[in-house]
């Protein structure tokens, strides 16, 4: 697809047909469904952050009138199957133990037992009647504590995998260590005119989706089961739940509900295996819905972190050496995105000499899950802050400095392979030339810029395009639609068949109704599943051309296709071009129904870059800060439905701004989260933010017929540093720990004033 193609529908902004159900309240989410004879399930959660389970006595609970089933980990088989979850293969043993603790509870809120009863009140009371004897252990609540000598060990059998440090050995809380090296880092630093090193810390934060986890499961006498749930990955829920609950996946169907936000946090399973086990025991459907405090305490936030970065540059701003040491909290089990952070940290810059080590460290906090470009925002916060310091020190415009070192097509990424076409330079130039970059600043205001990178995923996707007799079409894929991808799919089918977008309905199938499809996540749906949708539509079009050939009695190859019409070869008598509708009306007598079909494995998807400019106003007397202007620049490859691409750019920026300014897990000394609610876990509200301007740069991705790149994850990567760099500009202080809360900012301002007074 080299020559730029003229599109009729790609790039337009049709109204998504599935939107009407959402604005009228008819759309059905996880908790919106009730099945006849349904019981209510609740989970009993650990009151301790770290303890051995000595004994669980469920007799009183089972005797409670109205209780139909009580389960503990004994009701779930021991499993150690490996299963693909997104690209990373994951050991189910950890996920199963996280779903319900077998011998040890590893974080406050860890599931210990579950009850199903005729009403929620009865189920809750029965759960409280379950007597659990714990042997309480000292909790490990930070990376520093976890790696300190003599620290309690969460997993006695744990060995550091990957590239253990030289001195590693014996019991450890470091689950894995990774190294990325290139050139001679010592020589590089020796050749540098300026070396800047800082250590950065970020707290554990949550994806913050407004819909709590919810599901309803029915396990029949014949072992056949159905789960309706809110998830980003119905196929993963099927395979993981079957393995964890001890069911044959062939007998389990998962129906994805509308999903009320996920951002990576709904790729994993928490309730589904429990609901299945309860339903199997009670022989009645069981509905389970998490409370907001359970979502905070017991699902999958992203890592708190400690990151040390050192950069060396020559006087002209050329970066010559870099070293980084990343320490990410994995939570209760191995599996933080430290590796991804290491690979993303220097992705933007041509640095000949670097050494990066990344550690995955278990602590007594919930098992981290993916959160939008997992690992990349944390690494970018550190690197983009130090790059800002270097630009400031060398008195070079911060965008100019980044342009001088920007990777482009043909340069080797830090993680190995050469980049294909990438848009970093174009994005930076768009930022430099935008009025925002030169706009005057008011009193106590500062401006910061930062770039961000994400790989974007490929993986498995399937799609079918079914033609109806009136020429309309229905497309079915296995990807729940979080960000409007159904609208993009309708556009792709309309483009390939040449029919109006309104005559295409896009649907999310269940695990029986669509071919195997990997999770909605990794910014892959519009890219990989989109590619399957396009090929399925092409397949339908080829069948239409074949039917025209049958009608005109010519060879299939001789039939052309233009603007939604099959066109006969020159001079074929009694043959005029036929529209999709005309051909579809004949299909039952020219060969039967037409169903276009495609399934594919898409390679990693064309990485993407973004750059953000943030203006921040700081009240020097209270440390309060307010984002007064924000502009997002991003290489999107090709925007299929621009409104929803802008939506990803604005939503990612808002999450990043929240991460930078006010969001944080606050833990007590004994490992209990103190702000497990939307009052004190402060996500940005409408009055906290200005309009978020978006500028889309389109550098086509050769791997996709339309040039589409993943857009969902890049926008959360730059804001942490963009806000911190704006704070530096406004206050003169380099903050290295998030969040930039008013108390932290005022304390630093007062300290700086005190120093100034003495000087």
């Amino acid at each position: 697809m080299t020559a730029p193609r003229e599109f009729k529908y790609v790039g337009t902004r049709p109204i998504r047909h599935d939107g009407v159900d959402k604005v009228t309240g008819r759309a059905s989410y996880g908790a919106d469904v009730a099945w006849p004879g349904m019981l209510h399930g609740v989970v009993l959660r650990s009151p301790h952050a770290h303890a051995r389970i000595v004994k669980i006595d469920t007799r009183a609970a089972e005797a409670t009138p109205g209780v139909h089933a009580v389960i503990t980990a004994r009701d779930l088989p021991e499993t150690s199957a490996k299963i693909a979850i997104g690209e990373a293969a994951v050991d189910l043993r950890d996920i199963a133990d996280n779903v319900m603790a077998r011998t040890k509870v590893l974080y406050h809120g860890h599931a210990v037992a579950a009850v199903a009863a005729t009403t929620l009140d009865i189920a809750r009371r029965a759960a409280e009647a379950i007597a659990v004897v714990y042997e309480v252990l000292e909790p490990v609540m930070s990376v520093d504590r976890a790696i300190a000598a003599g620290a309690p060990i969460l997993h006695p059998a744990m060995k550091t995998t990957g590239t253990p440090a030289a001195d590693a050995g014996g019991a450890t809380n470091v689950a894995s260590r990774l190294e990325l090296k290139r050139g001679d880092v010592d020589a590089g630093f020796a050749a540098a005119d300026l070396v800047v090193e800082r250590e950065f810390r970020t707290p554990m934060v949550h994806q913050g989706y407004i819909e709590p986890h919810a599901c309803i499961a029915r396990c029949g006498e014949d072992g056949r089961a159905v789960v309706w749930c809110t998830t980003q990955g119905p196929f993963f829920v099927r395979d993981a739940s079957a393995a964890i609950a001890g069911l044959d996946p062939a007998h389990l169907k998962v129906i994805p509900s509308e999903i009320g936000g996920g951002f990576g946090g709904k790729i994993v399973v928490y309730l589904e295996p429990l609901a299945l086990a309860l339903s199997r025991k009670a022989q009645r459907p069981v509905k389970m819905v998490m409370g907001r405090d359970e979502v905070f305490r017991a699902t999958g936030p992203t890592s708190g972190s400690r990151v040390r970065v050192k950069l060396g540059a020559r006087r002209d701003g050329t970066l010559v050496a870099a070293s980084a040491s990343l320490w990410y909290e994995a939570g209760a089990y191995a599996g933080s995105p430290a590796g991804a952070g290491a690979m993303c940290a220097l992705a933007a810059y041509k640095i000949p000499n670097f050494f990066i080590e990344a550690h995955d460290v278990v602590v007594n906090k919930p098992k981290v899950a993916a959160y939008r470009a997992p690992g990349s925002p944390i690494a970018a916060f550190a690197v983009e802050s130090v790059v800002d310091e270097i630009a400031r020190e060398l008195k070079i415009d911060p965008i100019e400095l980044r342009l001088r070192n920007a990777n482009a097509e043909g340069d080797r990424a830090p993680y190995g392979p050469k980049y294909g076409p990438i848009g970093l330079t174009q994005v930076l130039e768009a930022a430099r030339n935008h009025p925002h970059w030169r706009a005057p600043l008011g009193a106590n205001q500062g401006r910061g810029v930062a770039v961000g990178f994400w790989f974007n995923a490929g993986m498995n996707s399937s799609a079918t395009v079914t033609l109806n007799g009136d020429g309309s079409a229905a497309v079915v894929t296995g990807n729940p639609d979080i960000g409007g991808t159904r609208a993009a799919q309708a556009i792709m089918v309309a483009e390939e068949l040449g029919i109006p977008v309104e005559r295409v309905r896009s649907n999310v199938g269940d695990t029986d109704g669509s071919g195997y499809t990997d999770v909605t996540g990794g910014s892959r749906v519009c890219y990989a599943t989109g590619m399957a949708v396009i090929r399925a539509a092409e397949d339908a079009r080829e069948q239409l051309k074949a039917r025209a050939a049958t009608i005109w009695n010519v060879s299939r190859e001789a039939v052309e296709w233009h603007d939604g019409r099959a066109v006969p070869p020159e001079g074929t008598e009694k043959a005029k071009p036929m529209t999709v509708a005309e051909l579809a009306a004949e299909m039952t007598h020219t060969g039967g129904p037409i169903v276009g079909r495609a399934s594919l494995y898409a390679p990693m998807a064309g990485p993407a870059f973004g750059a953000h400019i943030c203006d921040l106003e700081v009240d020097p007397e209270t440390g309060r800060s307010q984002v007064v202007r924000y502009t997002v620049f991003q290489d999107v490859g090709r925007a299929v439905h621009p409104s929803y691409v802008e939506g990803q750019m604005q939503g990612g920026a808002a999450q990043g701004i929240g991460w930078a300014l006010n969001e944080a897990y606050v833990y007590s000394a004994d490992g209990v989260m103190e702000n497990a609610g939307f009052l004190d876990y402060r996500m940005p509200v409408a009055s906290d933010l200005p309009m978020i301007e978006t500028v889309m740069v389109e550098v086509a991705n050769p791997l996709h017929p339309y040039g589409v790149r993943g857009v969902g994850e890049v926008p959360i990567v730059p804001p942490l540093a963009a806000v911190a760099n704006a704070m530096r500009d406004a206050t003169g202080i380099r903050f290295t720990e998030l969040p930039l809360s008013p108390p932290r900012v005022l304390e630093a301002i007062e300290a700086a004033d005190a120093v100034a007074v003495q000087a």
Binding site: E87, I267, Y415, G416, F455, N456, P603, L703
Partner: protein, 80 residues
């Protein structure tokens, strides 16, 4: 002959060698050849993604190789 670049984490299994020429038509043959030459690599490769001439395959399966392919072994990444 495909050129294989190993990440620094694996070079301790190859005595420090990080670039290897391998004659292989498909990824499974390439992995087999690598493990023959460096037995310690066995078992280390299945958690890796493979980049073939810039395109990364989280699950390389039976991907074919061109005569002058450039192959990088890359840690796997889970999307959000």
């Amino acid at each position: 002959m495909a050129t294989v670049h190993l990440p620094s984490g694996l070079t301790r299994h190859t005595g420090g060698v990080d670039t290897i020429e391998v004659d292989a038509a498909r990824i499974p043959d390439l992995f087999a050849a690598l493990c023959d030459r460096f037995p310690l690599l066995a078992g280390q490769l299945n958690d890796m993604a493979v980049a073939i001439d810039g395109d990364i395959y989280a699950d390389p399966g039976y991907q074919p190789l061109r005569a002058d392919s450039e192959v990088h072994l890359v840690p796997r990444v889970a999307g959000g």
